[in-house]
């Protein structure tokens, strides 16, 4: 295990926009702030469109492929600022120190390559081209795939969704990354498969000491497997804290998210829903972007810029400026 409580990657005041030729740049993430420590498992939650995937892309440097750009702020990975890193720098990091497991397990692996060919490609990336076949088998063992020899010769379409996602995880682990980013790795998979994949991620974390970022909108899942949680709303981090701390949330958005959870609700009782929709990109209001949907909104919530996270990094932080009113919810 690596040193705990030392940040591996720090996201500082990151602003992401999509530049446009004739129209003004569209800001999609503004005020994203959080750290991920060595060997830690961090969950990022938020509604669709809250910028979860964009933050993910900043951490693997594929933002520009989608027309996005980091406008300001810093992404510091082991002392190196990645916000301004060149393609050459990224080439040495992406798929090496930083691994990535994409959202769509079913479409993830290359359909025309056998599993062996995909793993070979990932392993060549390490620069060490010896014993590739043996190492491929080791990787498949690691992600608990049985009948390794058969699977090596198979194509993705011959595998189930859970197996394909395991192969994707194996590819990401080929270079023993320090950071593994999993963007909704179990969306579309069954609950039984989901719990197996989660057990696998937990095991990887404890045996290899890999820090894992788990992006999901399933709060129950994140509660169960992660150490800390980052809550995002409309492109900003609104609350950061340990799973334990978030049991007593300090931001009205987190409280609202919790009350819409069906797993804690009594069957048949009314579910509390969050008023309205998350503000669309480009239509953010002044001040706190949750203000329009908040039940304890005050007049000073709707002025100025979106509030900063309050509290020191590493502690329970919230971007609500009226935490004293939270008892009213």
């Amino acid at each position: 295990m690596s040193t705990p409580n030392k940040p591996l990657i720090q996201i500082k005041d990151v602003v992401i926009g999509i530049p446009h030729k004739r129209r003004p740049t569209l800001i999609i993430v503004d005020k994203a702030n959080f750290d991920i420590n060595y060997g830690e498992m961090v969950g990022i939650v938020g509604e669709s469109g809250s910028g979860k995937t964009m933050i993910c892309r900043t951490m693997i440097g594929t933002l520009e492929r989608r027309g996005g750009k980091i406008l300001s702020g810093e992404v510091i990975f082991e002392g190196q600022n990645l916000a301004t890193a060149s393609d050459a720098t990224w080439k040495n990091l992406r798929g090496k120190s930083i691994g990535y497991v994409p959202q769509s397990a079913l479409a993830g692996p290359n359909p025309v390559l056998t599993i062996e060919a995909q793993l070979t490609e990932a392993l060549r990336n390490t620069g060490d081209t010896k014993n590739i076949k043996a190492r491929s088998k080791e990787l498949l063992d690691l992600v608990k795939i049985r009948r390794v020899d058969t699977v090596m010769k198979q194509y993705p379409y011959q595998l189930s969704g859970g197996m394909r996602q395991r192969v994707m995880i194996a590819c990401a682990l080929a270079t023993s990354p320090k950071l593994l980013i999993a963007d909704e790795p179990t969306t579309g998979l069954d609950v039984t498969v989901q719990s197996q994949i989660m057990d696998l991620l937990k095991e990887i974390r404890s045996t290899m000491g890999t820090a894992i970022v788990l992006i999901s909108h399933d709060l129950a899942l994140i509660d169960e497997v992660c150490d800390r949680v980052v809550v995002m709303h409309a492109g900003a981090t609104v609350e950061v804290g340990s799973v334990k701390e978030l049991e007593k949330p300090r931001h009205p958005y987190t409280i609202a998210l919790n009350s819409s959870r069906i797993d804690i609700a009594k069957p048949g009782s009314e579910l509390v829903t969050i008023k309205g929709n998350a503000p669309s990109v480009g239509e953010w209001n002044l001040g706190c972007r949750f203000a329009e949907r908040c039940s304890i909104v005050q007049s000073d919530c709707k002025v100025g810029v979106h509030p900063e996270l309050i509290g020191a990094s590493g502690t329970h932080q919230s971007a609500c400026i009226h935490t004293e009113l939270l008892e009213r919810i």
Binding site: D190, V191, D218, I264
Partner: protein
Amino acid sequence: MAEFLLEAKNVSVTFGSGSTKVEAVKNCSLTLRSGEPIGIVGESGSGKSTLARVLAGLQAPTEGEIFFNGEPVYKGSKSYTGEARRQVQMVFQDPYGSLNPQLTGLNAVAEAVRIHDKTNKDESENRALELLRRMGIAELDAIKKPRQLSGGQRQRVSVARALSANPTVLLADEPTSAIDQSAQAQLLNLFRGLLDDGLSIVLVSHDLGVIRYLTQRVYVMKDGVFVESGITEEIFNDPLEDYTKLLLASIPGDLGVAARRKLNKN
């Protein structure tokens, strides 16, 4: 009146033949009483969607029969003839694919109203607006096309369209799997309101949380067979089959904790 509103008796569905033969549903029997919410739960590939399609009249069973109000549903090459046709409606899994991209929510629902009520344009639009409002879609959003709506809004348009026929049974095939948690809460609240109004709902899902929240009875399906069925609360508290136990233990969070503890004890 028959005892059951909808009944499936020993239904089997087979696709293909010879070496490619797949038995998607094997000898399944199911009952639905008026005003009752029931659930069908299982993994992908367990045959629950096929069964839902059979119940909806979209897929004739290879063996067995479906009865609606005591009348057989499949007669010759037809299904749900006459009045029964509009009484059973379906909401599909994918709100992105089940709405016509060219039509606004209002037009999509008004079209369905016109087909069922045979009214003129103004009347059908008024009723469509009323239905959409009941689903929490304001006039401003009703005139938007599907691509301008969020996933949750689209799914609510789909529900409004299904309700335009004044059905007595709503078949919902994974209605919450493609939408966010907060949108899911909105949709479930709507379903609860519909149940209060006397609608019967068949909810097909792999999400046990949704099943527990909404249904009174549940059928657990595995490889085309019902492995266990009964009162939802009892099945969640005291599952008998190993497969149900495993399924419950896989739920993340507090719900699965008790089931996991029981599973580890054995």
